[in-house]
Every structure is written in C-alpha cells, then in structure tokens.
Symmetry: C2
Subunit: 438 residues, 2 copies
C-alpha cells in the first residue's frame, strides 16, 4: 500500500441463527436448534468478546419466512433480537450489542425506549440498525394489505430517526440529581419535551428513560440506493454494505464519505463496514474442505429459493438450473441493490443459476474469503488500507464453530500486524468504534 | 379457619424502581438510582428467587410521568420492562418474569413475539400483564390527540388477546424436527397461519418464533371494572387486584371465580393475587419505626400529586389538606376502580386529604400490613384460607431492603406453616403456579 492508514479496523460479528451458510444447521458441528438456544448464543457472543470484536449484530424481519423450501431452511424460529441482546448484556461486559428494528412497522417511541433501555442495561453498548422493511410479507402482520413503497419508506425512516434521536435527548446527561436531602429527583430545566408533529408521526415525549450512557445508541444503516446513501450520510454512525470486489467497495466508500462531508459531517464520523464471509482453517486445504462440505449440504430447492428471495422475491421455480439467470424487472423491495449486485455478478462471470446460488449459499453476495488466517488477514488489510472499508462485519459460516475459527486464526494475525486491538480501550461501543459522543 | 385449603399460596414480587413507597428513593438504605441500575435489579430478583417467589412483576406505562411534583418523585427514569426481564432471565433460573404491555398502544405481532422470545430465553418463565392504558398521556406518544375511550380499549384488548394467543399457537410443539440427514427443518403440516381479520387488527402470521416452552406465556390481568372482570374470567391465568379488607377481597374472589366458571373454565384455572404492601421487621416497634421514617420523608406536594393521579388525574392543588376529599366525577381512565376504592376508604374512615395521601404513600390503596413476620403471615394466611386470595403480589416499601426483609421474616414463617414452597417444583412459571399448559 502506498499510504499507511492511521488507526485500526473495527470488527462486528454478524450473527444469524445457526450460521450464515444456508446449510449450516445440517453441519455436524452445529447445534441445529441454535437459533432458539440461549446457551449457544451466550457461547457465541463470549467468543466474540474474548476476540475483542467491537460488536455483535443481528438482522431482523417481523415476519416468518414461509416461502418456497422454507421447511428445509433454519430461518423460521429465532429469538426477537432486542430481548436476545438484553439477555446477552447480562453475560458480557465490553462488546457492543446491535440489532435491526424496522422504521416501517414500528412506533418510534417504542424503538427509542427499547434501545435506550438496552444502552442503560449494558452500560453504553447498544446499537440500532435503522432499516426500512425489505420483506413485503411484514405488511400483513401490521394490518396493511400492501407493503409501503420505497420512497415513502425512506421518507418515514428519516422522520422516524428525528423522533427517536429527539426522544433520546429528552433529558440532559445531568438531569437526574436524586438529592435525598432536598427531595429533588430531577432538575426540570434539564427536561426537554419533544412535541414532534410531522407527516408520519406525532410524538409528544419525553422518553421515560434517562439519557442513554452513549448519549445516543450507535445508529447503523445498510441502505445502498441513492436515497439510502443520503440517509446514511446524514444520520448513520456505521454503514453496513455488501461488495464482491475491492473496486466496488472503494467506489462506495468514496461516495458515502463524500456525501457525509456534503451533509456537514466529518468523514471520520461514519464507519463503513462491508460484510465478509470467511471460511478459515489452519491450512488452505482444510478451509476448502470445510467450504466444500457445507456446499455439499445445499439442497437445490433451498438454493433456488434463497436466490429468488435475494433478488426481490421473483419465483424462479422451474428455471433451468444449468442455464443463465433470466431477465427480471427491477424490484421495488429493499433488495434492489442486492438484485443489481447479483445480476452483475452472474453476467460478469457467466454463471448458471446453480453456480449463482452456490455462490450466495454462504455469503449471500458479500465479499468471501476462504483460506488461512494470513490469507484472510491479507484480504482484510488490503480492503482496509485501500480505503474500501473502515472495518468488517464478519459472517461466520457456522455457529459457534465458524466464529471460533475466525477468533483463533484471523484475529491474532490482525493483532500481530497492528490492525486490530488486543484489549478493549473504550467503555462504550461508541468509544471502541472511535466515534464521538453526541 | 373452618375448612383447610388445599395447596399453597403463590407469591409475586411487584417491583417498582426504588420501592413502592413514594419516598423510598430518599431512604438512606436505598440506591437512589436503583430504577436504572441493573446491578440493583439483579440483586433484588436474586433475593426473590432465593425466597422461592413464583415471579417478579413490573408495571409499565409508555409515557414519562411529568405531572405536578414529578421532579420530586423517582418515577421518570426507568428500564423498559421487557428488555429488563430479558437481562434478568440470563442471571436467574427458576423465577417467573412478568411485565405489563399495553394493548392500547402496541401491535399484537410485536407483543406476541417479544413475550414468546422471553419465554424461550428463560426456559418457560414469561408472563404478560395484558392491560388497557390508564395514562391518557400515552396517547400523545402514539400520534393520537385523545386517549382511546374505556369501552373501545376493552374491545381492542379482547381482540388483541385473540391475535397474540393465536400467534403463539402458530407452530405445534413438535413442528421443528430439524433432521440433519433428510434436510427437513420443520414439518409444514404443523404450521398454522393465523389469517386474523377483525375490527381492530388484521394479522396474517405466522409468528417467527417456535411455540413458547409454556405453550403460552402466563397471561395476567388487573382490570376490576365489570368489563375488566369478564375479560379476566375469559382469558386470564392470574388476576392482580387491590383490596383494603378481607371482605372486599372475598367478594371479588367469589365474583371472578364464578365468572370464570360461567366462561366455561375451571375455577382453579385462574389465580387471584391481591397486592399487599408489607413493612416487616424483627419486632412490631421496629416495623412501625421503619414505616414512620418513610412517611416522614413524604413531601406534601408529592403526596397530593400521588393522590390526584390515583383517582384519575384530577388536579387537587389548592384543596385544604386537612379537609375531606372533594366530590369528583367518575373518571374514564383505567384508574376508575382505584378511584372508587379510595373514595370509599376516605368516606368510611372520615379521612382528610392528608390522611388519605399518607395512607396511599406506600401501598397506594392495596392491603397493607406492618408488623413482624408472624403478623404478616397471619394476615396472608387469613386471606388465603378465607378465600380472599390464591396468593399475593408483594409490594416492598424499599428495594432491595424491603424485599430482603420479607424474605428474611415472612417467607420462613409461611414455609413453617406449610403455606409456601421450600423448593421450586415446576420447571416453568405456569407449573409453579399450578396452571395447566395450554
């Protein structure tokens, strides 16, 4: 690299039931009921904490996946993430605890309150992944015949953010004096009633939780559309994103940092963390064997269903598995950027439908690295030093095994190179990420 | 007692920030920031678990109390209860974990999911207190200019219950086979899609959580109006209630058990648990001293505000503290039954406004006992054997101190008399309460 970057990379552990590989639950090493076994999650998160990860992260949808081949996938029974993170807060000390909560089918008062409460429970380790709902089937669980359209979802998300952060600011940091002698519990001059009246929400406030230890829990976003990038530039502390090449990651990185500066914020006030799917072992051969063993467990029905879902829920049943991906209209769902990415990938590499679903069975279109600890560290270092990433959201193929492998083989290598911390230095997630307290 | 009752009483610990006494936070023994200190709650709940309580319980409102004298009360900063209970699940093994979630300003899918998730996290220890909102100020946090009226709130609550329990039943107990060899994760014949379409809610389902370990989390209710009693008789596992005399408790008990049978359910399928405010010590003198010390810390402004709130938010500022309670219209809020109870109490005993607020500064109109462990056990035994109660929701004046006193002085006395368990026998809250699995 021509210029040496200052600072170290951030690492998140993106956790998903039994692991990111669609056949993870069938792997002999994986507890098949891991998605609903707290003991397993406790073990997983303690592995991440011992490895000094900045945070763990859970995606979420407020709907059960019951589409094609659902009964052959481990995606229908899982913990609700805010309850799960709260339980994990009680058995960890340093690691950040982040989850998705949709702005499309929630009320901002509930979301503000739950993340503020989690931030207090954990001593300043909460993070909220602000999303607009990508699963149209969520609408039916909230009294709507039709999913809210893309533009309205983003408009609502922007206002939702204003309300939530306004509620977090209801009380000054030093509002609660709790003076036993005088009987004064809080200073009324340090209470701010929101009185928000907007197009989508009317919320009086104040919040019935003191200001969160982080000031505001960390706000994460993952939108890649123009609107999504602008929203992130204006409001996000962390951006999750998916790229298969360094060039694409660099272009995204440059674009979002520039938009952040245009929005009047410092480029260091936003951390860009692409997902990376990692299969790692002591030797390259072993890593390839692990990978192949998982791929061999992919049911074609499941592979096709996964692909269909990731390009916007188009029904692909009946297509020729050994032919090219058929032409499809642009989806209106939250999967639009993923659809574009996969269509480009299939075109560039002349992939058949089968090859395409095999490609996403693990990393779902994210950057994938299979190899030794040094191989993985080389790749992450190149992305980090090449300004394609400020850190990574690590996707383990299986849990807890795949994450334990990352902790064993990759983390020490990154530490040896000075690219990752050896001890937690900050008391909060925000501090560990190097972000200022708002 | 003429007839010896079978079985033992149930005990819940009704927890409230720094304790139930309105001046608890000013007591020298109480951590004034206890409402937002997880370490304090952990200690409190572990005291309750070591004493073999069936459950802990948190009330809740989705609004901050900012009325008159709010700045002199410890009621404005607290944990959101579902996040708090989830964290407590990770540091306890046996005790039930119950909280309020309003049906007035929530979506049933979210509520069903969070309590199902808590039930899995805790291995079958979750309980949901189904309420209609009593605080009109909640409306403003959810986009409504006016609070929903009493009749509509109950109609909505009834339908909310149908949706939530229907979602809990989305999957049969044995739906998730997770067979690694065949690749079948769940049996589609054991999935039930709700497809609820009603007046207030349209919810497709299914829930994205497997059936809760308890089948359904324990459903608690506390409504005392005619409508509230009927709803409880049809749907509740546990009823919380407030009475100041055994006669009143017995009348309520008979009435709700009769309504339960009319609704086609066994009278043993519902547990009636009045609240009881207990100040207990080694001697009567010590208990009276503890009580007096707390009463001396009540600010008159706070006392008046408390009274005002409990009779339906009528503004009482300026009334003669040493005169009788003025005549007031019947409130439309959820506090109607509390208003009736307090008006009756003031009339029966010729209480001044000051005497009335002193009376409720601790127990807020609940049964109150001040004395030794034997005194308290005598009172609870009389109510239990006299069929005024199947158990009690214990309100400690201060936390953790007041609950530790109950555990030290009252529990061993009840155990000695065979009225309370010495070890947990059931694996779930439902089992400990002696309730069948639905």
């Amino acid at each position: 690299m021509s210029t040496q970057r200052q600072g170290q990379m951030s690492l998140g552990a993106f956790l998903m039931e039994t692991g990111h590989h669609v056949a993870a639950w069938r792997d002999p090493s994986t507890p098949a009921n891991g998605g609903l076994d707290f003991k397993v999650y406790k073990q997983v998160v303690q592995i991440a904490e011992q490895a000094r990860f900045d945070m763990v992260f859970f995606a979420d949808s407020v709907t059960a996946y019951t589409g094609a081949a659902a009964e052959r996938m481990a995606r229908s029974d899982k913990f609700e993430p805010i309850t799960l993170l709260s339980a994990l807060a009680a058995v960890t000390e340093h690691i950040g605890l982040c989850a998705t909560a949709t702005t499309t089918y929630n009320e901002p008062y509930h979301v503000a309150r739950k993340f503020a409460s989690l931030d207090h429970l954990s001593g300043g380790r909460a993070g909220w992944n602000l999303v607009t709902s990508d699963a149209a089937s969520e609408a039916g669980n909230f009294g709507r015949a039709q999913h809210v359209g893309h533009a309205e979802r983003y408009e609502r998300a922007r206002e939702f953010y204003e309300v939530v952060t306004g509620l977090w600011d209801s009380w000054d940091d030093d509002a609660f004096v709790r003076d036993k002698a005088s009987g004064v519990y809080y200073d009324p001059a340090k209470l701010h009633v929101l009185n928000h009246k907007g197009k989508h929400f009317s919320v009086t406030g104040p919040l019935n939780v003191a200001r969160p230890p982080q000031g505001r829990p960390v706000v994460i976003q993952a939108g890649s559309s123009e609107t999504g990038r602008d929203l992130a530039a204006q409001t996000a502390d962390v951006v999750f994103t998916a790229h298969t090449s360094l060039a694409s990651a660099q272009a995204f990185y440059r674009d979002v940092k520039a938009r952040t500066e245009t929005a009047g914020r410092s480029r260091d006030s936003i951390r860009i963390m692409p997902g990376v799917y990692v299969v790692v072992a002591a030797t390259r051969e072993e890593a390839q064997q692990k990978h192949a063993a998982l791929q061999a467990l992919v049911d074609p029905e499941v592979g096709l269903s996964l692909l269909s879902r990731m390009i916007g829920n188009f029904d692909l049943r009946g297509v020729d598995l050994d032919g090219p991906l058929p032409e499809l209209p642009l989806t209106d769902s939250g999967q639009r950027s993923r659809q574009e990415l996969l269509t480009r990938l299939a075109g560039n590499e002349n992939l058949t439908v089968r090859q395409l679903y095999e490609r996403i069975a693990g990393g779902r279109g994210h950057f994938s690295v299979i190899g030794t600890g040094a191989d993985v560290a080389d790749a992450l270092q190149a992305w980090f030093e090449g300004e394609g990433a400020d850190g990574f959201n690590v996707m383990a193929p299986t849990l807890p095994g795949g994450l334990a492998d990352f902790a064993e083989f990759v983390v020490p290598e990154l530490q040896k190179r000075g690219l990752f911390r050896t001890e937690y230095t900050g008391a909060t997630l925000r501090a560990n990420l190097g972000l200022a307290r708002p």
